[in-house]
């Protein structure tokens, strides 16, 4: 059996690492802009919106890619509970990657705030004007972002655990630069 069968296909690896960088950047921009009253605030906000929409598009591309390029099976040595945890945490990551941009978009719609991506490129509102709904969506956006950050930490910790302690090839199946 070729070594490739134990790795994610190249398109999946590319999507994973591009999105990893974008999402990590997004989490830091998000927490930074929510705290900032400095001159950087405007730049952070104007990057946050198009970056969020780019992530939304890429996660859809990624879900489609997943149907055509299946991920490799986990090694048999992994105990059942860890398998379930791995599956659940990946489901949660996908759900959050989809939900956060959509909740952000919905929140700005409910505020009736212009959703500018770049220059004259705007997004249409997806919800009617309703400030109470805006307030709820704003809290939801915040809590989901914290949850995504924690899930990301767990994901990173698990990847390092596989790579440094179990040394079972799971980290290498994604963290491989060979074609």
């Amino acid at each position: 059996m070729s070594a490739d069968s134990a790795r994610f296909p190249l398109p999946s690896r590319l999507l994973h690492w591009i999105m990893a960088a974008m999402i990590l950047m997004m989490l830091f921009i998000g927490i930074g802009m929510a705290a900032s009253v400095s001159g950087r605030y405007e730049v952070l906000v104007s990057v946050h919106k198009p970056l969020g929409i780019a992530i939304l598009i890429l996660v859809v591309v990624r879900l489609v890619n997943r149907r055509f390029n299946s991920p490799p099976a986990l090694p048999d040595s992994i105990p059942p509970l860890q398998r379930v945890t791995a599956k659940a945490s990946h489901l949660l990551l996908y759900a959050l990657m989809l939900a956060l941009p959509l909740v952000g978009w919905a929140m700005l719609s409910a505020e009736h705030y212009p959703i500018i991506l770049y220059g004259p490129i705007h997004l249409p509102p997806i919800l009617p004007f309703n400030v109470k709904l805006y307030a709820s969506l704003h809290s939801l956006h915040t809590y989901l972002a914290y949850l995504l950050f924690l899930t990301f930490l767990a994901h990173l910790g698990a990847a390092l655990y596989h790579g440094l302690i179990r040394r079972d090839g799971v980290l290498e199946s994604m963290a491989s630069i060979r074609r």
């Binding site: 069968s5 830091f28 400095s38 001159g39 490799p72 705030y113 950050f149 040394r167």
Partner: protein, 373 residues
């Protein structure tokens, strides 16, 4: 396939317990560093950094907690009307708002401070906020004040001023010691206050000049970018503030005058755009531009209808100065970011507090008896 990896594992030497502990240590250190960087970015590790949450707390510290109200310029009324553009600003900005024609406006008059029920006073900064309801996706929101320059050039400077100006409960005046400290820390504010004191104080909202204070940039169809500031200049004759008004027992005299005037006739302001020279500061709202700068009259703002925040359409609007149409862009003034961030946080807080809000100082009953509108 799985055999292949099982073999892989078996090929690697077993880790000693010490090596496993060391590796867990490395993983822990990596996770802690990432979490630490996140907490640092969010301001949790820097108690002295001015964050949005701390800025909001400082307004409350100065003026008390008034749930459901704006954290600054809390006392206000809604107005409605339109902007009639004369087309003269088209050469400076490609924004659709400057093409000849009429654009509806939802506006708001207010006085500065977090105190939603404070008594009107002549020296309290008055504001006019305008939302130009452009067709399509474009929108322009701007908040203007009746002072020629802003009292501060940074968020920290402004909040220091807000806290230093809190009236002492005994004397009713700001604590001179605190004011002195503030002045020593902020020479730019000392200069700005001198400019503000020199400008004549009008009797009300209707005869006040409202200034953008911050600089912006206008971009025309050819892509040329110029620094600008703008102002709403009243067409109502100027009447100077009289001591009689100050002595008035009516806590809402500024708003009551406005309601009475709007009950009789619309109020008009010219929208005047001042074009800056390259040498004019765009990043410091405490500095006036020279008086001889070219000014362009872009059209007339007509306000004809007033309502209480209870029923008006301005209540749920965030007059964020960074909501700009293509053709108007922010300048390098850091206060624009600060205002945008603070307004946004204030909006989020009051949106969540909507059910807790008590009726605004100016109620629908204050308006109805006077108006035909």
């Amino acid at each position: 396939m799985s055999d292949h990896r099982v073999q892989n594992i078996s090929r690697k030497p077993r880790l000693t317990t010490a090596a496993v502990m060391a590796r867990f240590g490395i993983i822990g250190a990596v996770l802690l560093s990432v979490a630490g960087a996140f907490a640092y970015t969010g301001g949790w590790l820097s108690p002295n950094r001015l964050t949005q949450a701390r800025a909001m707390a400082m307004f409350e510290q100065a003026g008390g907690r008034h749930p459901g109200f704006r954290r600054n310029h809390a006392k206000g009324v809604c107005v409605a009307g339109w902007f009639e553009s004369n087309g003269q600003a088209v050469a400076m900005s490609k924004a659709a708002v400057f093409k000849p024609g009429r654009i509806p406006i939802v506006g708001r008059f207010a006085i500065s401070g977090d105190m939603a029920f404070q008594a009107d006073k002549p020296a309290t900064v008055r504001s006019m906020a305008l939302r130009f309801m452009l067709p399509g996706d474009e929108e322009w929101r701007t908040g203007l004040n009746n002072v020629p320059v802003f009292v501060a050039n940074s968020a920290q400077g402004f909040l220091d001023e807000v806290l230093a100006s809190v009236p002492d409960p005994v004397t009713g005046k700001p604590d001179p010691a605190k004011m002195k400290l503030f002045m020593a820390d902020h020479p730019e504010s000392v200069r700005a206050i001198a400019v503000i004191m020199k400008s004549p104080l009008s009797s009300g909202f209707a005869d006040a000049i409202f200034n953008s204070l911050n600089a912006f940039r206008m971009i025309n169809a050819a892509g040329k970018s110029i620094p600008v500031r703008w102002a709403a200049v009243p067409m109502q004759p100027f009447k100077s503030e009289e001591a009689a008004q100050t002595a008035s027992s009516d806590n809402n005299y500024l708003f009551d005058d406005l309601i009475e005037q709007l009950g009789q006739h619309p109020l008009l302001w010219r929208l005047v755009i001042t074009i800056g020279q390259p040498s004019d500061p765009t990043n410091d709202a405490t500095l006036p531009w020279p008086a001889d700068r070219q000014q362009v009259d872009a059209g007339t703002v007509t306000l004809h209808q007033v309502s209480s925040e209870e029923t008006g359409r301005c209540t749920d609007v965030n007059y964020d100065p960074l909501v700009l149409p293509p053709g108007i862009e922010p300048s390098d003034d850091p206060l624009l970011s600060a205002r945008s961030a603070a307004y946004s946080r204030s909006f989020t807080l009051r949106a969540a507090e909507k059910d807790e809000k008590s009726p605004s100082a100016i109620t629908p009953a204050d308006i109805k008896p006077r108006g035909k509108l």
